[in-house]
């Protein structure tokens, strides 16, 4: 059995799965249920300025039969009294001393407020802070949340204030509502933030009710942009994580990966791209805390199969596999192959290729079953047919190199090789 215990900035947890700062970590009752279910740690829902929430807070994007492929919310930070939150945090730490307890913070935008808040939370026995520089709704209008994270210099200033007062490790959570997360990430690290976490939610409109014509979520005839999360945002989160992992400044600090993590596989992907652990919210809100069981078991089995003994053995292993386009090997070529024994004759590969790609699939009409074969000479190897095929391993991409040696775009240009030749 692999060791899946995690140490993040010295904060120990039995597994790398934390619950993100969000409704599931708002109260003692939720957090105790999470710890009982096996979660390695929680980031307590953001404490700070006093707020009032509206009713009707969530909405979702469904895709086909799958509900909540994407999810958004317009909830603010914790709307419970600070003293109650602090008391409950202490109790949770006492009842589950082996779990990580991080507290998310968002103070009013001045040094004094931050210092006071940090002092109060440090007394709870929590293990670290996460600075919420990412909340995209409600708080931004008051100069907090994403309003801080979107401006590297403001973020730098706030982190400096925090580091003056904090004795516990500080993680800064980054907003994705920027053209690049790197400038703010860099500023925070330079200002002393011990770690980073990303991504927070993405500003969004999930959809519109076609009867009322009011977008979701509906609040008495109106709506606002909500923070988007869930499986749909994972690819964006992984990209942003990679830019942090590849930057010489930000890569020096540990990163907690967030954004659509629903399974152990998602978690592994975040960790391969440099996250030391992951935070989960939407998947738990969709299915309950019990999902952590398979996350632990699946991670463990995968690590055993791959021969990884501890998390550090694979964290970051895919970071250098994402390169610049101009460094890709132009001599690499592969073409699709359809396994006729597995083919169910649905024609999805054919129509996708014929209508939208390179007309590289041959159709022989049959009644009722057509036969589809690849025109290898036409196939550019785009993968589309393989992606749309509903049968596992029916369409495979077979390597057919143009030439044995590595040839990138820069060299290709230098040699004056032919362009636009397909």
């Amino acid at each position: 059995m692999a060791d899946i215990s995690s140490s993040f900035l010295g904060i120990q947890s039995p597994n790398p799965f934390w619950l993100a700062s969000a409704p599931p970590t708002d109260k003692k009752i939720n957090v105790l249920r999470a710890f009982e279910a096996g979660w390695g740690g929680v980031v307590w829902k953001t404490l700070g300025s006093q707020v009032k929430n509206v009713s009707s807070r969530y909405s979702a994007v469904n895709f086909g039969a799958k509900k909540m492929m994407g999810f958004n919310n317009i909830e603010l930070i914790s709307d419970r009294p600070l003293a109650l939150n602090l008391k409950e945090i202490s109790e949770c730490v006492r009842l589950f001393p082996d779990r990580a307890m991080i507290v998310s913070l968002m103070a009013d935008n001045n040094r004094k407020s931050w210092h006071e808040l940090i002092k109060q939370v440090e007394d709870t026995g929590a293990h670290g802070f996460e600075l919420n520089f990412g909340c995209p709704h409600g708080m931004t209008e008051r100069g907090m949340g994403a309003a801080v994270g979107q401006d590297p210099e403001i973020a730098r200033m706030v982190v400096e204030w925090v580091m003056e007062a904090a004795t516990l490790p500080v993680i800064t959570k980054l907003t994705p509502n920027v053209h690049s997360v790197v400038p703010t990430g860099k500023a925070c690290v330079e200002a002393g933030s011990n770690g980073l976490s990303l991504i927070n939610t993405i500003q969004s409109v999930t959809g519109i009710d076609l009867d009322t014509l009011v977008p979701n979520p509906y609040v008495d005839g109106k709506s606002v942009f909500g923070g988007y999360c869930g499986p749909a945002v994972k690819p964006i989160a992984l990209k942003m994580l990679t830019t942090i992992a590849q930057n010489p400044v930000t890569s020096k600090v540990p990163v907690s990966g967030i954004g659509g993590v629903s399974t152990w596989k998602d978690a592994v992907e975040f960790m391969l791209l440099g996250a030391s652990n992951v935070q989960v919210c939407t998947a738990a809100m969709n299915h309950g805390f019990r999902i952590v069981e398979d996350m632990c078991e699946g991670l463990n089995n995968w690590m055993d199969e791959k021969g990884f003994k501890k998390l550090e053995d694979f964290i970051g292993k895919s970071v250098d596999k994402i390169t610049h386009w101009e460094d890709l090997d132009i001599n690499y070529h592969h073409v699709a192959n359809i396994n006729q024994d597995k083919c169910i004759h649905c024609g999805l590969c054919y129509i996708a290729c014929e209508d939208t790609s390179h007309q590289s699939i041959n159709l022989a009409y049959g009644k009722p079953y057509n036969t589809y074969t690849i025109k290898e000479d036409e196939c550019v190897g785009c993968n589309l047919c393989q992606l749309v095929c509903p049968v596992n391993e029916c369409i495979t991409m077979v390597e057919k190199r143009v030439a044995p040696e590595y040839l990138n775009w820069k060299e290709f240009q230098k040699r004056g090789l032919p362009l636009n030749d397909h």
């Binding site: 086909g64 039969a65 083919c343 169910i344 004759h345 649905c346 024609g347 999805l348 054919y350 129509i351 159709l363 009409y365 009644k367 009722p368 079953y369 057509n370 509903p390 049968v391």
Partner: protein, 447 residues
């Protein structure tokens, strides 16, 4: 108990004849199934439908909350799409061709989804087709069965004035009078006919029999074209001794009575032999059982491999408790006091393949006897040969000969459905009606 009616309580009848393939109870159930559909290109299901319903499209439209569009997609190819969703042998048509079968997964429940969309359209009385302005052309159609209705609907949409002559008092043909009640009820058939007629431009004259109340030449004089969708009607005789005894009935009449007169008024015996293994034989056997017969024995002269009904249909009969004797041909019906008491059968064996390609039954010379008090004959139907010959229609054994799917030897007279093909599925008749309509429109030079 002798042959008698009213064997069960009203509740028992209701239960025995309730919907055998219940519809989706909820939108969620329909969506779950619809979302399984892969949306195949040049889909095998569509190619296996005699009317070429664009199945992937109508299923996709259910998933996009466009049920009206879904119903239109179905009806544009098959105006009896609602009825067909209940009576089609989909296991050998669309669902049998579904690519999920290759994955060893249950095929998409196409019929049930089709029922979902079409039922909604009928309940809401969505009239999904506009009629072109009248072009002054008049066409007579004989028979308000699936072929006639399908033909009438296409013609009416094209601006033709259509008059249908129907010998029964209700439309629908075999849908109304010849199919097991647990598949479609007579009241559903009536609703379906009314829904189809809702397009306008179609007048139906009921209780008008060709050859009795009017002749083909009457119609030729009064109309620009005539379409014959008269079906087949006569039960094939066994030509064995005892066939005239009381208690011997043909399945067509038996099912007709059951649908026309109500379950409680149809008498059945205690021990019934059903001759044949086609869909009608199954419908007669299962319904005899459901009317309260104690024992129903199906007698078929070939083996299970050659049976004309589908396995699904046979399974219904077996689950209803019907027994089957393979390789048995009726030889003689014996009676006492003019009442059936026994059926003598010849034991058969399989010989060389016959014209149908199936191995033909050969008499072994051995016999066995069944104690029965009723015999239902379901050995096929024969065409209305007399009517067809009197009208000088070119025919083959009473089946009207046509070219291009609908054109008879008499100019301006067209035909389709069972009277041409000898008796196939409802869905085949619907397609024949469409083919007939396009041949008529071409003949009338209506675009």
């Amino acid at each position: 108990m002798p042959i008698t009616n009213n064997r069960l309580t009203a509740d028992q009848y209701a239960e025995n004849f309730s919907d055998i393939h219940p519809p989706f109870e909820t939108k969620d159930a329909a969506l779950t199934e619809a979302n399984r559909c892969l949306f195949c290109y040049d889909a095998p299901c569509m190619k296996s439908c005699p009317t070429s319903i664009d199945v992937p499209k109508f299923i996709k439209q259910i998933t996009t909350d466009n049920v009206k569009g879904s119903a239109h997609t179905i009806f544009v190819s098959n105006i009896l799409g609602a009825g067909c969703s209940r009576v089609c042998p989909v296991e050998k048509l669309c669902e049998g061709a579904c690519v999920y079968n290759f994955m060893e997964e249950p095929p998409i429940q196409i019929a049930r989804l089709q029922r979902y969309a079409t039922e909604k359209a009928m309940e809401s009385n969505w009239q999904l087709f506009d009629r072109k302005p009248s072009n002054g052309k008049k066409v007579a159609i004989v028979g308000a069965g699936p072929a006639g209705l399908s033909c009438a609907h296409v013609l009416a949409r094209s601006g033709v004035e259509v008059t249908i002559y129907e010998k029964e008092s209700k439309g629908g043909g075999l849908m109304t009078y010849g199919i097991a009640a647990y598949k479609v009820t007579p009241s559903f058939c009536e609703d379906e006919v009314n829904y189809i007629l809702g397009v306008g431009g179609i007048q139906v004259r009921y209780n008008q029999t060709l050859g009795k109340d009017f002749t083909l030449s009457d119609l030729q004089q009064s109309y620009d074209a005539v379409y014959l969708g008269i079906g087949v009607g006569l039960a094939r005789q066994l030509h064995i001794p005892g066939e005239q005894l009381n208690g011997v009935e043909d399945a067509i009449t038996f099912i007709y009575n059951l649908r026309d007169k109500g379950f409680a008024s149809v008498p059945v015996g205690d021990r019934i032999a059903v001759i044949g293994m086609g869909m009608t034989a199954i419908d007669a056997a299962t319904q005899a059982k459901r009317l309260g017969a104690e024992k129903v024995i199906m007698v078929y002269r070939r083996t299970e491999n050659e049976k004309p009904c589908t396995q699904e249909e046979l399974d219904i009969a077996l689950l209803d408790g019907c027994e089957v004797i393979w390789l048995a041909a009726p030889k003689e019906i014996i009676g006492e006091n003019n009442q059936v008491t026994k059926l003598v059968c010849s034991k058969m064996t399989l010989g060389e393949p016959d014209a149908s390609g199936r191995r033909s039954p050969v008499d072994t010379g051995e016999t066995f006897t069944l104690d029965v008090d009723m015999v239902i004959k379901a050995a096929g139907q024969t065409p209305y040969t007399d009517i067809i010959q009197e009208a000088n229609l070119l025919n083959q054994d009473g089946k009207v000969s046509v070219t291009q799917g609908a054109i008879t030897n008499i100019p301006g007279v067209f035909a389709g459905g069972d009277c041409v093909n000898g008796g196939k599925e409802v869905v085949d008749a619907v397609q024949a009606g469409k083919d007939g309509a396009s041949a008529i429109l071409e003949f009338l030079k209506v675009s």
